[in-house]
């Protein structure tokens, strides 16, 4: 059962990763006896499971994901949000309407206007209908301040880190509040502009260098030296 790649090796689509009795993880497929990669990314081998962590790629919605969307359209009783995916997200007006109000009789732009940014959670997605999102819950809802930046959705797991280690480090060191949308949008709100700029700089660095090992250390060093200046 030969394995042709090492942990942390860069692979491209079609590369034969291994032959034999291995299990194909995400972004890997098995045909006959061979395991092939399907995306450009980093190979990871763990207990007989081979997976590829992609470096680039579109956002595919998943139920339970926190996403940040931008209102692009109204339906009679719902808002349509752009969530940086090939599918539009639907947000029911009833979720934000005060009780006893009729959505059909209301001017929907009073509550959310086109261009408004909303933090929400995916509640339904089956690929055959639109994505349904909800903005009821802790830390969900319309955003009115701070700054919004966009990174590649494939890098979000690295930005969060193992059990949130990376994002907690950035939050602690910069003193910013942050919400990470799985779709690649990140909201930052700090005490002052300087801390927001620093947080953005760190996130851009992670977006660029996610494939190089020792990322957490480098970010730590960067944050320390920036703070001294």
């Amino acid at each position: 059962m030969p394995i042709y790649v090492k942990d942390w090796d860069l692979v491209v689509p079609g590369e034969v990763l291994a032959e034999g009795d291995y299990v194909a993880g995400p972004y890997v497929y098995k045909e006959g006896n061979k395991l092939f990669a399907t995306a450009i990314g980093i190979a990871e081998i763990k207990r007989g499971v081979i997976r590829v962590v992609p470096l680039q790629g579109p956002y595919i919605p998943k139920v339970g994901d926190v996403v940040i969307g931008i209102v692009v359209d109204y339906l009679p009783t719902a808002y349509v949000l752009d969530i940086n995916s090939s599918y539009k997200a639907i947000l029911q007006v009833a979720e934000i309407l005060p009780p006893q109000k009729n959505a059909l009789a209301e001017d929907l732009s009073k509550y959310l206007d086109v261009g408004d940014v909303v933090v929400c959670k995916v509640v339904r997605f089956d690929k055959y209908s639109d994505v349904v999102v909800s903005c009821k819950g802790k830390e969900l809802g319309k955003i009115v301040d701070g700054r919004l930046i966009k990174v590649s959705p494939a890098k979000i797991p690295r930005l969060i880190g193992r059990k949130g280690s990376m994002i907690n480090l950035i939050k602690r060191e910069t003193g910013c509040k942050m919400i990470i949308g799985q779709n690649g949008f990140i909201w930052i709100k700090g005490k002052d502009q300087a801390s927001e700029v620093l947080a953005e700089k760190v996130i851009r660095k992670i977006d660029e260098e996610a494939h190089i090992s020792g990322l957490t250390q480098r970010i730590q060093v960067m944050l320390q030296s920036e703070k001294r200046d």
């Binding site: 689509p13 034969v16 092939f36 450009i40 790629g57 599918y87 190089i212």
Partner: protein, 252 residues
């Protein structure tokens, strides 16, 4: 002997040298660069001798007009376009019959490699722009488009490599140029997925015997595997350079 621009030229010399000094089984110098266009999801630039091509990939994104969307897989749309200055005599920028056909041929040679089932109701758009044409543009387009697709992070079963075979003065030659194409007897375009050993495009213009076809396919298969290695290193280049820069910087 053929006459090109009033000059008498021998396409292939008795000792097997072609006009540009290549042997029959040599391909032209191939340069590939991935991820060069900022606004596209993925992109690539390919230089195959004097053939120069840009490819850009957008999506998966919403399909417009909506009725074109498919419920079980993504729609792949491809536009092959030659710039007016890509050939000697100005070409009208409007799509010609030939360009429409090549768009279809390139699209169909790429679809088997893309995991289209993963994106129902979506479209993947591929734009190919020929900057300079000197033979084998469809093969160079396929090389560029498949690198662009991979650099966009679209799931693919394999990259697609392509190479053409021609027959001039009875000799099978790889990677035909414009002059060889126009004055030769045969031009065959060929594309394959090198790791899966599957042919995705085989288009023959001319007449070849069965043995010649077999020889041609084995020649071009070998060339495609070489081309695949170049595609692979082009895709990895950006990331490896960055890795080197970071690791080098960490040491100093």
């Amino acid at each position: 002997m053929v006459s090109v621009k009033g000059k008498e030229l021998t396409l292939i010399s008795p000792d097997g040298r072609r006009l540009d000094g290549r042997r029959p089984d040599d391909i032209r110098e191939l340069k590939i660069k991935a991820g060069i266009l900022e606004n596209a999801g993925g992109s690539a630039y390919v230089e195959l001798g004097n053939t120069k091509i840009y490819a850009a990939v957008y999506g998966p994104r919403e399909v417009h007009p909506r009725h074109l969307a498919l419920p079980n897989r993504a729609v792949v749309r491809c536009r092959y376009h030659m710039t007016p200055f890509s050939v000697e005599e100005r070409k009208s920028p409007a799509p010609t019959r030939r360009e429409i056909e090549l768009s279809k041929v390139i699209r169909e040679s790429l679809i088997p490699a893309i995991v289209v089932e993963q994106f129902p109701f979506s479209a993947i758009d591929i734009f190919i722009e020929v900057i300079n044409a000197d033979g084998s543009t469809r093969c160079a387009s396929i090389i560029a488009a498949s690198v662009a697709l991979a650099s966009a992070g679209i799931p693919m079963k394999d990259l697609v490599a392509a190479c053409s075979v021609g027959k001039i003065n009875g000799v099978l030659v790889l990677d035909v140029t414009d002059v060889e194409d126009k004055n030769g007897e045969v031009d065959m375009s060929f594309a394959m997925m090198p790791n899966r050993n599957e042919i995705t495009l085989l288009q023959l213009d001319g007449v070849l015997s069965l043995e010649e076809i077999e020889r041609a396919i084995s020649m071009t298969t070998k060339a495609c595997k070489e081309i695949y290695e170049k595609q692979k290193s082009a895709l990895k280049e950006k990331y490896i350079e960055l890795r080197k820069a970071v690791e080098g910087g960490a040491k100093t």
